[in-house]
Symmetry: C2
Subunit: 117 residues, 2 copies
DNA sequence: CCGTTGTTTAAGCTTGAACTTATATTAGCC
DNA sequence: GGCTAATATAAGTTCAAGCTTAAACAACGG
């Protein structure tokens, strides 16, 4: 799993946080991240390439702009890797999650009841 | 969050996997990881230091050996960071988790019902 | 078709992380 | 105290990641 290597960089994590809220053009990301980290447009473009190459983001051309959209698949893998440790800090929640995955009907019933807080 | 930097290394991830199952002496880890990655005792000792320094593991002296034990706190932080992305791949499960955290009594009722699969 | 804007790519530099070898440290046994 | 085993630390090397500057490329309006 080298998705972790991708997440190892703070700039890339920040970009993912931004993309998690909504899709953005490369330029918009440059403005935000460039201001926060003080790095050039080129550097950010290179980070975007890493995210693309490792499946964390997809691109769509809109005129001259490149619109980036998050692809959560690799992060889901990371989440899965964490699974084996999760019982350390959330034993009951984890157990419940397993049960939730098991039966669709039961889950729906339960969720709807909990929904009426 | 630079817990991610710690997890960025495959050797350290492997060590954590091993420690997740049970506590081990430095030497035992060296045998397992050394064989798998083909690196020296010194290299592994340095990785163990990183894990110690960043709170991923605690040590206890037993005679001449150092027994390492996992400390999941930093990984819980990573898990928390993932929270904002989790709805992408597990929207309903996530929503349920939020609800579960909310009310203790309601959770217990629901969990016990789900427990009887 | 030329300039401009938005973006990527190329080339080179720098730094830090991970490794190795070699040395220090500590515990326990004789 | 001296020897061995278990581990950590020091010093030095190597390599890749991230950065910058500079150049290339694509889309569009004049």
């Amino acid at each position: 799993m080298h998705a972790f290597d991708v997440l190892g960089d703070p700039v890339r994590r920040r970009i993912l946080e931004i993309l998690a809220e909504e899709r953005h053009s490369s330029g918009e990301i440059v403005v935000i991240v460039g201001r926060e980290f003080g790095i050039t447009q080129s550097a950010i473009s290179q980070h975007l390439k890493v995210l693309r190459d490792h499946g964390f983001a997809t691109v769509q051309a809109e005129g001259p702009r490149r619109i980036y959209e998050i692809d959560p698949a690799p992060m889901a893998e990371v989440d899965e890797w964490l699974e084996r440790f999760r019982h350390f800090w959330a034993p009951k929640l984890d157990a419940l999650a397993v049960e939730v995955k098991r039966g669709q009907r039961k889950r729906r019933v339960c969720a709807s009841r909990l929904g009426k807080r």
